[in-house]
């Protein structure tokens, strides 16, 4: 549904020096720098798939989404969305896509949501019966039926975001771009939006691209992610693959029996490389160690300590991705790194 081949976008940005002299100088001559916002991005998204686009601020996520939604022209490369070049903006393309921007209201501020939806019904030429049916379904599912006749500007952020979602999905798009749809929302509103996106995906099987800084959005919604760093795609693969290839450690959490004698943990752990004690208390110990050392280490700990409970946990995915985002150099992950995913083991519970 979405095919992207070596897509690039460069921006020419004016740079102005600070202060009054800088402003005066800029009136006559301005320095222009070229910013490579997206560098040769290549990927695809299939029907019914939610692709997570992860990157730091300014990494190029939104620029990529804007190109695929047809808002801006690329500097190079090619893209096809539903068989169309997005930036040509054919009516057929526009009728089947939607873009939801968490940071920018798209509905008409002074109008009640009901009036905005009626206008969108005309814009997308939605037949009356289908419009009524879809609107009833969306408002009931998102529980905003009572707020339909309130001006958009008077709604809470969460209610407004739900209205934005309804507005974007009224015409039942086949491709949906979600740019930080849960930004600024409280936890229950975030959960409601996530549940709804999953439900919508199940019902309509659209291709979706989601950008978010909230790892919970990514973990709950996306099977596959793209990691973008300074305009370059550095990882494309299943979420579990990030853990397999980039989370080289696991964490052993031990719950000791009450009154257990203290031991010299450093001596017990030996000289194993890369083993780190994250927490050491009278009843709780947490140790981070390389994946391949976990079985030996766990066995040794269970035999030497009075363990009440033991759990082996994956390192927090946000930490792994953060490490990837801020790593310097490198490029797109090597093909062998993008090999077929293996099943990620759930935290292994080992009874003492």
């Amino acid at each position: 549904m979405i095919e992207v081949q070596a897509l690039c976008k460069d921006f020419h940005v004016h740079r102005k020096q600070e202060g009054l002299m800088g402003s005066l100088r800029a009136l006559v001559k301005r320095e222009t720098v070229v910013k490579h916002a997206v560098k040769a991005a290549t990927f695809h998204v299939a029907e019914g798939e939610i692709l997570g686009l992860v990157g730091a601020n300014g990494a190029g996520k939104t620029t990529l989404v804007k190109m695929l939604a047809g808002i801006i022209h690329p500097s190079g490369g090619e893209a096809r969305v539903l068989g169309h070049r997005p930036w040509e903006r054919t009516r057929d393309f526009q009728r089947h896509i939607a873009l939801i921007m968490g940071q920018k209201a798209q509905l008409w501020w002074d109008l009640p949501a009901a009036d905005c939806f009626l206008l969108l019904k005309e814009i997308y030429q939605i037949p009356e019966a289908r419009y009524r049916e879809t609107l009833a379904f969306l408002t009931e599912t998102l529980q905003v039926k009572g707020e339909l006749n309130i001006q958009i500007r008077r709604l809470s952020l969460g209610e407004r975001m739900k209205m934005e979602l309804i507005a974007a999905l009224l015409h039942q798009p086949r491709v949906v771009f979600l740019d930080e749809p849960t930004i600024g929302l409280d936890l229950s509103a975030q959960r409601a939006i996530r549940d709804f996106i999953l439900y919508y995906r199940e019902q309509h099987r659209p291709a979706m691209i989601l950008t978010s800084h909230y790892m919970e959005d990514i973990e709950r919604l996306c099977e596959r992610i793209l990691i973008i760093r300074e305009g370059e795609l550095v990882f494309d693969g299943p979420l579990v693959e990030v853990m397999r290839t980039h989370a080289r450690h696991k964490v052993i959490s031990l719950q000791l029996k009450p009154g257990a004698p203290s031991v010299n943990l450093r001596r017990l752990l030996g000289t194993g490389r890369d083993v780190e004690v994250l927490e050491e208390g009278p009843e709780r110990i947490r140790i981070q160690a390389p994946r391949d050392e976990i079985p030996n280490l766990a066995g040794r700990l269970v035999s030497e300590l009075q363990v009440h409970d033991l759990a082996v946990e994956e390192v927090d995915i946000a930490t792994v991705i953060e490490g990837l985002l801020h790593a310097r150099g490198g490029g797109q992950a090597a093909p062998e790194e993008l090999a077929a995913p293996e099943e990620l083991a759930a935290p292994e519970e080992v009874a003492a």
């Binding site: 921006f11 939104t62 804007k66 939604a69 047809g70 808002i71 801006i72 022209h73 903006r89 009516r91 526009q94 009728r95 896509i97 939607a98 873009l99 921007m101 940071q103 920018k104 798209q106 008409w108 002074d110 109008l111 009036d115 009626l118 206008l119 005309e122 814009i123 997308y124 030429q125 740019d179």
Partner: protein, 272 residues
Amino acid sequence: MTRALRLYSHVASVEARKAMSYRADFWVNVILSFFAQLGVMWYLWQAIFATTGQATIGGWDLPAMLRYYILVILAGKLVRGQEMMAGLSQDIYDGGLSRYLLYPASYWAFKYAQHLGSLLPSLVQFLLFFLCLPLLPGGVGDFHPGAAALLMGALAMALGNLLYWLLQLPLQAVAFWADNVWSLGVLLRFISGLLGGAMLPLDLFPDSARRVLEWLPFAYLFDLPVRALMGQLDPAAWLKGMAICAGWCLALYVVSGKLWRSGERGYTGVGI
């Protein structure tokens, strides 16, 4: 075609409802703004006639001059509308254009429909004061337009409205390269007011200037509709004016289209 008409009439209707959302602003716009402008003109021209001691200036006596200004104020608001308020340049500047690029609808038609819908307060003002005009004292209300004058005036205002909107388009498209083009809008307002007859009747210009003005677009914004309403134009003169006005509309449409296509390639969709 019918579907498109239905969409754009719906857009205009939504905009008209928005214009009525804020009651106090609506009535200030309709009533106070008229009296504020009229007051300035009334006392200015009374002072000019009193100072010069002349019965007529450029063929206009004081009641006719005041009548002209009343009609210019009323027709001018219908021709100019809300100007840059809902303009392309603002959409480019703040990234508001992005949402329109997503819709399967013409951006220009959408914005023009919004522009027409936002004329509602100006239309109410026009009807209200136009009907009251014959009641004014001192010969100012000596005004009895026939059906032909009303029809020619209404059509000239409609075409003038389109012309003014199209005059703004290329200027607003400059925002693709310059971000902020507010000063160009102010310049257009001043030049069109001066050369279009909103500041003073074009009869007061020298003959040579009037001959040039005839081929510029500005005279068809205010001078043509007001003269038509006052019954000063015969059908042939009106038709010639309308033809020149339509020619300018077409030329501006073509130029704006080229600028738009070139400019939107560099649009960055800031703000999202």
